[in-house]
């Protein structure tokens, strides 16, 4: 479209989260900030074609949105205090100086992932407030009806405003734990896209890109956080495999049988570079180790073989740090692949009571039983894994293993 439209769109994409964070910092009212910003964008689309695109479109939008916010605030008599109105007027008069202050989006991300906010809504909240995704799209990504998602987002924003969650970085003492929550929310956004990239509407795959964008932002804003780099490396490695996860007929291809020539090389190279940089800090963590595991898998593109002992050692480390069921099942799978199927089965047996309805456990058990030559047990486990699979392609893949 025309220049003004394109400029507005570009500014929206690049500065949405920054503007929301600046506008909401004083009042903690994210919803009001978003409304004011939407109105400012509408005003820009009317004004810019006539006046030309301003030199600093972001500053123009901020000033316009602050005026709208101040106007709405003065008129919304409920709960308004003279002090807040004066503070807003002061903000309006102040020149925004982007270079002098740290990026406010970081504060916004910490607010979204505050432990007082329901963990399940943290990722959707971050996608909406930092990236400006609308509730309908976020709802589709998290498999919720739009009305339900909209309601949860509204409730979370009301909590931020009314509970007085500060738009400030956590105390250094709390930073590692709070950063974990931010990273987990970004990973949840990515994981949602990843699980269903091939099964549900193709628009859902877009979220992977958004999650990677958020991780890039975090690595830029927190250069001293190796786990942020670990998360970025992990997601880039996963993204690199996307073209190889399905064959020409749409059938599921497990990682070990993927054709490495189909992997996206630039993503792998970037992942390796980011992970190397993270390792320099010598502070390993869950995401760095998971990225390292993917890195070992990626080396098959060069060596033609998978270094299972290295992967097993990394999983052992990960299981000590983050002993989730998913990690422990993956550790068992790697142990079995490394040539020690009996030890793999023992690891599976140790967590059996918690895993009766856990699909990856049954799939891993099936493969391990087959490696042990116990074909009846393997058949049984393949069948149960298939029954528990939500993805039809994976179900087909598992049922195909039943044939003698």
């Amino acid at each position: 479209m025309d220049l003004a439209h394109r400029a507005a769109e570009r500014t929206a994409r690049e500065s949405y989260g920054r503007l929301v964070a600046l506008l909401a910092a004083r009042t903690r009212d994210v919803a009001a900030a978003e409304d004011a910003l939407a109105e400012a964008f509408r005003a820009a689309l009317q004004a810019w074609p006539a006046t030309g695109v301003p030199d600093r479109p972001e500053a123009w939008l901020l000033t316009a949105a602050r005026r709208i916010l101040g106007h709405n605030h003065r008129h919304a008599r409920v709960r308004s205090t003279a002090a807040t109105t004066l503070a807003l007027l002061h903000d309006e008069a102040a020149q925004p100086d982007a270079a002098a202050t740290p990026d406010p989006r970081l504060n916004l991300m910490f607010v979204c992932a505050h432990p007082a906010i329901d963990a399940a809504i943290q990722a959707p909240l971050m996608l909406q407030t930092v990236l400006g995704l609308d509730a309908a799209r976020v709802a589709a990504c998290f498999l919720l009806p739009p009305a339900a998602m909209g309601q949860r987002l509204v409730r979370a924003k009301a909590k931020i405003r009314d509970a007085g969650i500060a738009f400030a970085l956590p105390e250094p003492r709390d930073l590692p734990a709070r950063l974990d929550a931010v990273l987990a929310a970004v990973y949840a956004a990515y994981g949602t896209a990843w699980d269903d990239a091939f099964t549900v509407a193709p628009t859902r795959a877009d979220l992977a890109e958004e999650a990677i964008w958020l991780a890039r932002l975090l690595t830029a804003l927190l250069p001293d956080a190796p786990e942020a780099k670990g998360l970025l490396a992990l997601m880039l490695h996963c993204e690199a495999r996307r073209p190889a996860r399905r064959d020409a007929t749409g059938a599921f291809v497990p990682l070990t049988r993927q054709n490495p020539a189909l992997w996206t090389r630039p993503f792998i190279l970037e992942a390796e570079a980011v992970l190397t940089e993270a390792a320099r800090a010598n502070r390993p963590g869950r995401f760095q180790i998971e990225a390292a595991i993917h890195s070992v898998h990626a080396q098959r593109a060069i060596t033609g073989a998978t270094n299972w002992p290295a992967i097993t050692a990394l999983y052992a480390l990960l299981a000590r740090l983050s002993p989730t069921l998913g990690v422990r099942v993956a550790q068992a799978a790697a142990t079995a692949e490394a040539g020690n199927a009996a030890a793999g089965l023992a690891l599976l047996d140790a967590i059996a009571p918690a895993c009766l309805a856990y699909q990856p456990w049954w799939a891993c058990r099936a493969h391990t039983m087959r490696l042990l030559g116990r074909s009846d047990d393997a058949q049984d486990a393949f069948r149960r894994a298939a029954l528990l699979s939500p993805d039809p392609a994976i179900r087909t893949h598992l049922l195909a293993q039943l044939a003698p």
Binding site: R77, V78, R79, S80, T81, H114, A116, D162, A163, G164, I165, A166, A168, P170, E171, D174
Partner: protein, 126 residues
């Protein structure tokens, strides 16, 4: 911002108040905690409350008063583990994290729970 810290205690916490052996420790912990709050200059007000069995709950239905004795509420199947309102403090601190920090130091947080509720701002004048 003003927050109310709502302290809930277990049955054994309430019992400790009058237990010759446990009372000094129980009251000592609360006295130290409230003293620290006062010293920080954040206290707006607050009180401990008599145990639940001293309470009376009133409901008006169809114009008639219905009263429930506080002891009746406590005699459920999980009475021992059930937490009951034991006291409250209203404090003035900058944000939720500061309020959480104070709530975390309360004796109730370790045995029962502490809820943090923002106080509603004054009603607007018409």
């Amino acid at each position: 911002m003003q927050y109310m810290l709502v302290f809930n205690e277990t049955k054994s916490d309430f019992a400790a108040r009058d237990d010759a052996e446990k009372a000094p420790r129980y009251w000592g912990a609360w006295t130290a905690y409230i003293g620290a709050m006062a010293q920080a200059g954040i206290v707006i007000g607050g009180n401990g409350l008599q145990p639940p069995h001293t309470g009376t709950t009133l409901r008006i239905r169809d114009g008639a008063r219905h009263l429930t004795d506080g002891a009746a509420v406590q005699d459920g199947p999980y009475a021992d583990s059930k937490e009951q309102l034991a006291g409250y403090m209203i404090i003035d601190v900058p944000d939720l994290d500061a309020a959480l920090e104070w709530a975390a130091r309360s004796p109730a947080a370790a045995t029962g729970s502490a809820e943090i509720r923002p106080v509603l701002p004054p009603m607007p004048t018409p």
